[in-house]
């Protein structure tokens, strides 16, 4: 138990987790009462991206080089850490938002991959960049299903049964987590 607590503290989780869930709830609240279902989808996706942007700060240690020398097997640990983050943020969003659960969980998968990828590429302090950079333009564009490029670019707000959107989320999620698990943060 104690190693787990120390690990979580080393990843700023005690501060970031409440902050992240607060961000999720706050973002979802902004569309409370809005009747337009697409508006609920937009805020749910933003909420997931915001929550993971905050938790993404913990996708690496303060001194990555020191971490790398540790004997612990990092890849599974990193996978579990990011995975739990996605499940928590996605789960809370499903609970507080009226957006379809499938859309929210798809968003959690895609955005956690983007956060993990950004952490692996630019460091943990910039882990927020890719999820935010995809979420903002992604949710304002009208979610057209044709052409394919537009469907992929707007994957977060596509309908629940959209195959291109699901594929985009899976590729981003699995790819991002894999790169992060193998490389860690710079």
């Amino acid at each position: 138990m104690r190693p787990l607590v120390l690990y979580l503290r080393s990843r700023q989780v005690p501060l970031a987790l409440p902050g992240s869930l607060l961000a999720v709830v706050a973002v979802v609240m902004t569309s409370a009462g809005a009747l337009n279902p697409q508006r609920q989808v937009i805020t749910a996706c933003l909420a997931v991206a915001a929550g993971l942007a905050v938790l993404g700060q913990g996708f690496g240690g303060v001194d990555p080089e020191l971490d790398r020398t540790a004997a612990v097997r990092w890849p599974p640990l990193r996978m579990v850490h990011a995975g739990v983050a996605a499940v928590l943020v996605g789960g809370v969003t499903v609970m507080v938002s009226t957006a379809p659960a499938g859309v929210v969980l798809r968003a959690a998968l895609g955005f956690v991959g983007l956060a993990a990828l950004a952490a692996a590429l630019f460091g943990r302090q910039l882990a927020w960049t890719l999820p935010v950079a995809w979420a903002l333009p992604g949710v304002v564009m009208p979610p057209m299903s044709e052409p394919l490029v537009v469907a992929v670019l707007t994957w977060p707000v596509q309908p629940q049964d959209s195959t291109p959107a699901l594929l985009a989320a899976v590729v981003l999620g699995v790819g991002g987590l894999a790169v992060h698990a193998v490389r860690g943060t710079p």
């Binding site: 809005a34 337009n36 915001a50 942007a53 905050v54 927020w128 935010v132 979420a135 333009p137 044709e146």
Partner: protein, 432 residues
């Protein structure tokens, strides 16, 4: 400020990354419309280019704010606060090079996107009235970057940039959502991002652009002040330029029409044929489509020569041009023109469109059946050239045509003049 330090900061601060983000997103936004065949949203008119780019600010503002906030934390992130704190240069002076580097790059990057879009603009209406819209957009991005610097200075946390980005995005989403239910008015007109693109004939009222310029100048100064004050507790002073900008902006914008939009009179000016034939005129914005209209329009005038009061001129008019329409003129609604493409018909079919409603524009309570039938009556055949009608409407219209043709000639003319007179007299003239 040291020019040399500005140069260093231009190269080493967040200035270049934010410029790259702005340019890549802005250019993508223009050209992704090629994929969905929507380039008509900006290519036919300079003001549409400037207006569509302003729509993208909903994403670029959060990006510039976040970049500024990230830049503001550099000393802390690099462990330089102690060393920098022991130097003699005052805080305001030392914060200027990075602020100017980020501000210059954000503003210039916006204008680079404008230039990249300008390459594809194709219009007969060359003017500079659109440049203030673009320049105010660039100014607003400078303001966003500097506000980011200021907020980052006051809240120097690693969480500030992402939270700022998402929060500002949600704020900017509010006017967009609101605009779906009612036109934006008053203070809402001051938001940096426009909620919908402009059309060919509409432009932002100068008072709106002026009010926005005042607000963004105030916000830019506020951000700079918050980033540059000696002690964080003095940052309240930044509220002064922000408040002043807001008040000035609201005063100036109150001089604008309620929706903030107005008809661009120069774009709607007439361009007419200069040869000896009957006069045909189009809006200036469609000047390059005059030739393709002239033939069909004159053919339409020939068909109307049988009327007791035969019109002698065809004018393209904005859709709800105020009436009454003179009986010796044919008014042809500009809705028959697709921006960026041309008239929605050609040859005989275009003539028939000119003849619709007896050479009138749709106005008031529009009855398309009688407008179609009057065109066919003038043309002398049913169906007249043009897209065929199917289903019950097609059958009922044909039955009506058969009925009219059985009437005596005088009654037919009376029926026709009745329809035409209704549209000629229609007052029209809502705000565009």
């Amino acid at each position: 400020m040291s020019a040399r330090m500005l140069l260093v900061e231009l190269r080493r601060s967040t200035a270049i990354p934010i410029a790259i983000i702005i340019i890549s997103f802005g250019v993508t936004n223009f050209y992704i419309l090629e994929l969905t065949d929507q380039t008509g949203l900006w290519q036919p008119q300079w003001a549409m280019l400037a207006g569509l780019q302003r729509v993208t600010l909903i994403v670029l503002w959060p990006a510039a704010l976040a970049a500024g906030a990230w830049q503001a934390r550099r000393d802390r992130r690099s462990g330089m606060t102690e060393l920098v704190g022991t130097t003699s240069r005052p805080t305001w002076s030392r914060s200027l090079p990075a602020a100017f580097a980020v501000g210059i790059c954000a503003g210039l990057a916006y204008l680079v996107v404008t230039a990249a879009g300008a390459v594809a603009v194709s219009t007969p209406y060359q003017h500079l009235g659109w440049t203030p819209i673009a320049l105010v957009g660039a100014l607003s991005l400078v303001a966003a970057a500097w506000l980011g610097l200021g907020v980052g200075r006051l809240l120097p946390s690693v969480y500030t940039p992402p939270v700022l980005a998402v929060a500002s995005f949600i704020l900017l989403l509010a006017p967009m959502e609101l605009s779906k239910y009612r036109p934006l008015t008053g203070v809402w007109l001051l938001t940096p991002n426009m909620s919908s693109p402009l059309d060919e004939l509409t432009t932002l009222a100068p008072a709106v652009t002026g009010g926005q310029a005042a607000l963004f100048a105030g916000l830019a100064l506020a951000g700079l002040a918050a980033a540059a004050v000696a002690k964080r507790r003095f940052a309240l002073a930044a509220l002064a330029p922000a408040g002043l900008g807001l008040v000035a902006g609201m005063v100036v914008v109150s001089a604008a029409p309620a929706t903030g939009l107005q008809l661009d009179p120069a774009a709607a000016a007439e361009v007419c044929t200069t040869d000896d034939g009957p006069k045909v005129c189009v809006l200036r914005i469609h000047a390059d489509a005059l030739d393709s209209l002239t033939g069909p329009a004159r053919q339409a005038l020939e068909r109307m020569a049988v009327l007791p009061t035969a019109p002698t001129v065809v004018r393209e008019v904005v859709d709800d041009r105020p009436g009454p329409q003179p009986a010796d003129e044919v008014w042809f609604a500009s809705a028959n023109h697709t921006p960026g493409e041309g008239w929605e018909a050609e040859g005989n079919a275009l003539s028939v469109r000119v003849l619709a409603g007896g050479g009138t524009r749709p106005c008031g309570e529009v009855d398309y059946r009688e407008r179609g039938l009057t065109a066919a009556w003038l043309w002398g055949a049913y169906p007249a050239p043009g897209p065929p009608l199917h289903g019950t409407e097609g059958a009922e219209r044909l039955a009506e045509w058969e009925r009219i043709k059985t009437l005596p000639a005088a009654d037919q003319l009376r029926w026709f003049e009745g329809v035409r007179a209704k549209y000629l007299a229609c007052p029209g003239g809502g705000t565009p």
